[in-house]
Amino acid sequence: MATTITKPETLVGKRIRRKEDPRLITGTATYVDDIQMPGMHHACIVRSPHAAARIKGIHVKAALELPGVTAVFTGADTKDVGPVPCGASLPGLRVPHHHILAVDRVYFVGHPVAVVVATDRYIARDAADRIEVDYEVLPAVADPEKAIAAGAPAVHPEWPDNVAFHFHQEGGEVDKAFAEAEVVVKERITSQRLIPTSIETRGVVADWNTGDKSLTIYSSSQIPHLLRTLLAMMLGLPEHHTRVVVPEVGGGFGSKLNVYAEEALMGFVAMKIGKPVKWIESRRENYLCTIHGRGHVDYFELAARKDGTMVGLKLKLIQDLGAYHQLLTPAIPTLSVLMMPGLYRFKNIRADIAGVFTNCVPTDAYRGAGRPEATHGIERMVDILAAELKMDPAEIRLKNFIQPEEFPFSTGTGLIYDSGNYDLPLKKAMEIVDYKGLRKQQNDSRKQGRLMGVGISSYGEICAFGPSPATPAGGWECATVRVDPQGKVTVGTGASPHGQGEETTFAQIAADELGVDLDDVLVVHGDTAVVPYGIGTFGSRGTAVGGPALYYALQKLKEKITKFGAMLLDSESVSYSGGCCTCSKTGKSVTLGEIAGASYRAMKLPEGEAPGLEATYFWEPPNFTFPFGAHVAVTEIDRETGKVKVARYVAVDDCGRIVNPLLVDGQVHGGVAQGLGQALYEQAVYDDSGQLLSGELTDYAIPKATMMPWIESHHTETPSPVNPLGVKGVGEAGTIGCSPALVNSVVDALSPLGVRHIDMPLTPEKIWNLLQGGQQ
């Protein structure tokens, strides 16, 4: 028997560099486009240049004549493949049939019309250029407010009003609150369409085994198992003959939380030609055909008393859905409604959503998914109210926060906030920036004619999606822990991390629980043939739902380990810690490796136990988690150019217990960058006829290194009672907190000019026009 090995310290809570990095920094990771297979073909997709048109004919002969071209398929060939699925259900939702290739009509620029398959990437592209499509161009509409105006062209002729659904939610006594209010402020606030822009575009490799009749799809996805279930359905395959492998994924941000036409299309092609086929999305296709985010026009009304106490909120929300529903399209604005009250105590809330079809690519989940829009709205409205009442924006927030003793707190939108101490991050942020000093500095600089602003956002978010009854596809997560005969540990998770670092954070959790070294734990994910069914990584759920699933699997496994330990030590008084089972009476111990070896050798088994050392746990969360925080942005406007300079950016985030502070900072930085992108730079622009004008990285401004301020990232830790790890999730926090802080700051800077609201993005041109006394 070995001597007891004690692990000196726990790993959870430590800044630990990532286990996934060695392959990524040496160029040896495998992304979809890195996959090569014998006989592999390449596909190129022909897409509509029109936003609305009838297809009168498709001429493919010239393409087929090109040497190296194997096949061309059009909508006529694929019309029996199941529609691209919409997983969201709402009362009365109109769901257009979404063919994987257009059948007789196209609905947005980029709509796939035909696919060319060739032996070589270049030949496929050449052949696609030879395909001629006759279109009868029809009128299109690209703006959601124009789409619901009288006389607008119908996106889907069967629904001339262009409305896919109406959704109403109400809590408390809204009319009474507004009737009794001493002040009501109103504003139209937009959250512009954004393009997620993962640096890796989408891509699919499909491999059909004609002998086994089994299909393997390699796809850059956030949801391997859901994708398998839905692809099997679309292609009419038995699910056990369908395998999805998600290799390394180069960013998703929600855009790969979906099931796309091309994924089923490549499956279809591989089955037809009996060869593997690869399709890699070009950046232009990515902008035209991968989902966009946001796309809100919101009309807010906030009612309050003169002392700044908020009493009620009304919202009319117009959601630009695009031409179709992708997986969660119609569900996204309902999340905005849930999040509307923010961190504030009032419960009188009324929201009406109109989900509107336009001749544009569908919108769907993009980092924050509905919650940045809501947070931007409420946090702008609070500032507008503060300005109206001539109150300090920090003071009005502190006055209205739900207090720590009120948790769990039932909101007017039917949620139960798990835990919070909302004063903490705001007060901490104010202290870090020296809020009082800043206001004084602002007064002084105004006297010198300078335009300096201080903006606060106190944000909350719904994370850890989520309890299954509240989600479209199950909200649980699964983990398997396997100890091999050497005593080394493999964790299989149903979460599908793609940059978040769960190969490290999950290894930290497992290493702590099992008392082994970090290097002795390997975390695997993403292959439906290797890990048990799981839901995936999105909605800040990886660690917050996948983590607890792992924790419970580890507890289950430790019970088994202890039973084997007791048997080997021939004692009932054993406990497992530090990687060993130790008898409290004799002090003798056996290591995990010895126990594992014995469990597989199985000369003898504890009563009622099976051989091997493995445990699986499916964990259903009892509630969402509700992270929160406060961001403060200090800006200065250049009067000559209208350019916004972010002088300071302080983020104080409370994501519950922190597993790895290094990675949490990384998530906050990246989140803030995307929030800042929305606030200052990014916008998907369609012209009136539905042409995407920001169709390339030249015209769509994601932040570059020089465009980012230094982010001062700090934390408070309020554990969540929802799960045993106390974690809440952090993936979306930065994005949700950022945009209102920046816009509040710029509006504050311009307030001496009478500016009360500016819609994003705050481009120099827009601000310069305001400085000249014009409209934005």
Binding site: R23, I25, D33, Q36, S198, G666
Partner: protein, 156 residues
């Protein structure tokens, strides 16, 4: 109408017949199996495909393979030597300078170039130096830290 090129990639000399229109990035990735450099835009805007030609960082999606004829190409795969990571690689790892990792090979090559031109860059110089490489995950802050750390290591 194929052309023969002679090119040294990561120290290994090669002779290959290529179509004149074949992009260097496709030659590296598909002919040589060097899939470290990535394609993020095909228009030289994102920098994921950055490699070195004769010691200068270039975006290999906007260079034809034939233009590399007679030249020395270095990709991310050739950066570590004898199992030892290059200081820039090590610094990206230590400072959490990457998340999804897709921009990383290009970002590391650009950072290496930056440090060869300016061994002790300020934050502003670092940001300027990597401006041609887009990252959507990190907000660049940990990348800035990584480049600073690498500079300190190389200078030490």
């Amino acid at each position: 109408m194929k052309k023969t090129i002679r090119v040294t990639v990561n120290g290994i000399s090669r002779n290959d017949e290529v179509e004149p229109r074949l992009l260097l990035i496709h030659y590296l990735r598909e002919r040589l199996g060097l899939t470290g450099p990535h394609i993020g835009c095909e228009t030289s805007l994102c920098g994921a495909c950055t490699v070195e030609i004769d010691g200068k960082a270039v975006k290999s999606c906007s260079v034809f393979a034939v233009q590399a004829d007679g030249r020395n190409v270095l990709t991310i795969e050739g950066l570590a030597s004898n199992g030892h990571l290059h200081p820039v690689q090590e610094a990206f790892w230590n400072e959490h300078g990457l998340q999804c990792g897709f921009c990383t090979p290009g970002m590391i090559m650009a950072s290496k170039q930056l440090l060869e031109r300016n061994s002790n860059p300020t934050e502003g110089e670092i940001r300027h130096g990597i401006e041609g490489n887009l990252c959507r995950c990190t907000g660049y802050q940990h990348i800035v830290n990584a480049v600073k750390a690498a500079a300190a290591k190389i200078g030490a």
